[in-house]
Amino acid sequence: MLYRETGQFKSSYAEDIAIFPLYQDRVAIKLLLLAAFLLIPFLAKFQIWPLSTDYLLRAILIPFLVLSLAAIGVNVLVGYCGQVSLGSGAFMAIGAYCAYKFGTGIHLPAFWSEAGISIPPISPLLAILLGGAMSAVAGILFGIPSLRIKGLYLAVATLAAQFFFDWVFLRVKWFTNYTPSGSVNAPALSLFGYELSTSVDRYCLCLASVTLGAFCVKNLVRGNIGRQWMAIRDMDIAAELMGIRPYYAKLSAFAVSSFVIGISGALWGFAHLGSWEPLAFSIDRSLQLLFMVIIGGMGSIAGSFLGAGFILILPILLETVPSQFGLPVSTEVIAHLQSITFGGLICLLLIKEPRGFARLIALFRQKIRLWPFPH
């Protein structure tokens, strides 16, 4: 009744190829963006519930946004192009460390001059973008094996990238500016002179990046290159016979995916943690991103958000619920129960709906198109 698309006629090409063709969808997304961009900062500024403390912003919303962006990147590679990759943590690390180096100034020795190549510190936002670019270059490099290896073997081969970069950032002191412990402190974020130091500022930065990123990726996957990716995913040999160049499609998927993941890694370090060490981007992070994509729905941008939310919030919920009900259980028991519940929910979800939350949403939308009629 409410969700009918009857009476909505498209009278221009722009309307026809819009991301949200239905009027109701457009209204919903506009409300969501309004709430995200205006309502939340407003509530935070005046400390109205539920943003009366910093906690929701700093510990839930900012990581949620950054991880959604990373999940979108992983989705491009795994969901749209079908190349299973377990090395996403490494690409986040490359983005973070390269952004750090660009942001604190680079000095490379060169054999032709004494002074070497010296780049002064760049504004952090530009540094984040450049970090993403470096990550894209690395992605193309480590994506070359995908031209020859497929499926599960590729997944395990990408672990080579993961462990290699784990080691590089631990051993090569140049990346950490020769600090004794190997931990780095991100330089202060500033946009055209305005310091982004409060949580609300960082939240807005992350929100803007995520919205822009999601928008760009959505348009990419709806276009030519996206269809090439999906063709490779579905039947790569048939696609090649049709004329789609597999190396171009696969490497561009790696490039775009690593760019997005690299930016999210830089944001994770700059906007969320502030100070990090290589363990922050270990294989646990890669597996976490893969979960988000699979649980949220492969090949779906909205699914990335849902998956990120689920994976991030569920453990916190499982920790706080027992204490809310006043049950005196030790943190150890809670941690184990958390593990069991987490695994159980993953299995349950995969059994009930292997295509993830996005598919459930799609089914929901089908249902409300007809509601209140049964068919």
Binding site: Y55, P180, G182, S183, N185, I313, Q324
Partner: protein
């Protein structure tokens, strides 16, 4: 389908509830960031037990600190930085005045919180770990590496080795390897050891072990080839136990192994069993064994069934570390209450208490730590308060002290502290405080 939506809605509602401010009980809130699971859970659990047992002791025996009860809440970090940050964010505002201080018990989490604590105004106590340069309170106003950092540990280890060899002159030409956990925790002592090797003329070889440290065969085959005179061990959790086992497997004498104070606990020597006999480790002032405070804990806490550890584990090395850690925090709050009044205090006020913490030998005896700790004197320029340690050895059943008190040689550590803290201040574009102008009344 409907059930799914219902479940999701409940989940969201519960998260909302979870973020509501805790009901205002009157007391001083002290969060406990701990880890009882994961690769380091075996060593994290006894420490957390010691901390909470001491807080409960203060509540039960003394009725709190001058009548202000301690509100305790534990949070599992799993030794992961992002979980630690999340725990910190969740707990920092609880209680009527927020958290008194935070004890991250992980160098990685310490680095992350060092960025956040100044804005939130909550002091970070990093007793026996953390940033080596945070001794300089002029730059690191909110970090308190009480009792020692890894740089002082490195110096004390070399002092002990020099003593075993019969004098500092005998260090020249010797080979000393450092087997370290490849993380900020393990890498922290390297600059100090390099400075020491230059000063005393021994060859220093760092050998990394990838997290979590279960694979050490190649490292020990290398050690068998290079035959260092001593192997310093900077491990935590499963890495230490594995190191001792591998040392036994390649036949490296355990007497020549010296671990840092985080690598010298009962949990570390248990896996290797009899092979661990002779292994030595630093003792961060305290060792294993019971003192006056343990009798009180057994009397007031365990008798009432409130103890968290098994009764036979009371007095273990890491348990004692937790007790000492908790005691220092409590005494800091007590000192702060002298100035700000006997009520729940904010983190900023407790920070003043920490910076002016002075515990004399007689006060330590009153508290029940006689023979366990030496006097502590924290000040603006010295956030360590004390830099002494002893060396203990495992004889198969117990840890026994085999040395006298060593005091770290500040000639070695001070230049490092100065250089690194000034670099940090320059990076942050913040000017250090002037300690001579800081009041201490």
């Amino acid at each position: 389908m409907k059930i799914m939506i219902g479940k999701i809605a409940t989940a969201i509602a519960l998260t909302m509830v979870a973020t509501m401010p805790a009901s205002a009980q009157n007391g001083q809130f002290v969060p406990v960031l701990s880890f009882r699971t994961g690769p380091y859970g075996g060593t994290g659990a006894p420490w957390a037990n010691g901390v909470i047992d001491y807080y409960n002791l203060v509540n039960v025996r003394d009725g709190g600190i001058n009548g202000v009860k301690l509100l305790i809440e534990e949070c599992e970090t799993g030794f992961a930085t992002d979980k630690g940050v999340e725990c910190y964010e969740r707990l920092k505002g609880k209680g009527p005045t927020g958290a008194a201080f935070v004890n991250p018990i992980s160098t990685g989490i310490t680095y992350a919180l060092t960025e956040k604590a100044p804005t939130d105004k909550i002091p970070i106590i990093t007793m026996g770990y953390g940033r080596g340069d945070s001794k300089n309170g002029a730059v690191f106003t909110w970090n308190f590496p009480l009792l020692g950092t890894y740089w002082t540990a490195a110096d004390i280890m070399i002092q002990h080795i020099a003593k075993e060899l019969g004098g500092e002159a005998n260090l020249t030409g010797k080979k000393i390897s450092l087997l370290y956990h490849d993380s900020p925790f393990g890498k922290e002592p390297i600059p100090a050891l390099e400075a020491l090797s230059q000063r005393y003329g021994f060859t220093f070889t760092p050998i990394p072990v990838t997290h979590p440290g279960v694979e050490q065969k190649s490292q020990w085959l290398t050690i068998r080839q290079t035959r260092p005179d001593y192997v310093l061990l900077w491990g935590w959790g499963v890495m230490t136990g594995t190191a001792i086992k591998e040392a036994a497997a390649v036949g490296y004498p355990r007497q020549k192994m010296l671990g840092v104070w985080w690598s010298g606990a009962e949990q570390d020597v248990a896996p290797a069993g009899d092979d661990s006999k002779g292994y030595k480790a630093l003792a961060l002032q305290h060792g294993a064994g019971k003192a006056g405070v343990h009798h009180d804990i057994e009397k007031y806490v365990y008798a009432k069934d409130m103890g968290l550890a098994k009764p036979e584990d009371v007095g273990q090395v890491l348990y004692n570390r937790g007790v000492v850690n908790a005691m220092l925090g409590v005494e800091a709050i007590r000192k702060a209450q002298e100035r700000f009044g006997q009520k729940p205090l904010t983190g900023e006020q407790v920070r003043w208490g920490l910076e002016n913490l002075k515990l004399s030998q007689s006060r330590l005896k009153e508290l029940g730590f006689d023979g366990v700790l030496r006097p502590i004197d924290v000040s603006c320029s010295d956030h360590e308060g004390a830099r002494e340690a002893r060396v203990q050895q495992w004889d198969g059943k117990n840890w026994t002290m085999i040395s006298d008190w060593y005091s770290a040689n500040q000639e070695i550590t001070e230049p490092l502290v100065k250089a690194n803290s000034e670099k940090y201040a320059a990076d942050k574009k913040a000017s250090p405080r002037d300690c001579s102008k800081v009041s201490s009344d």
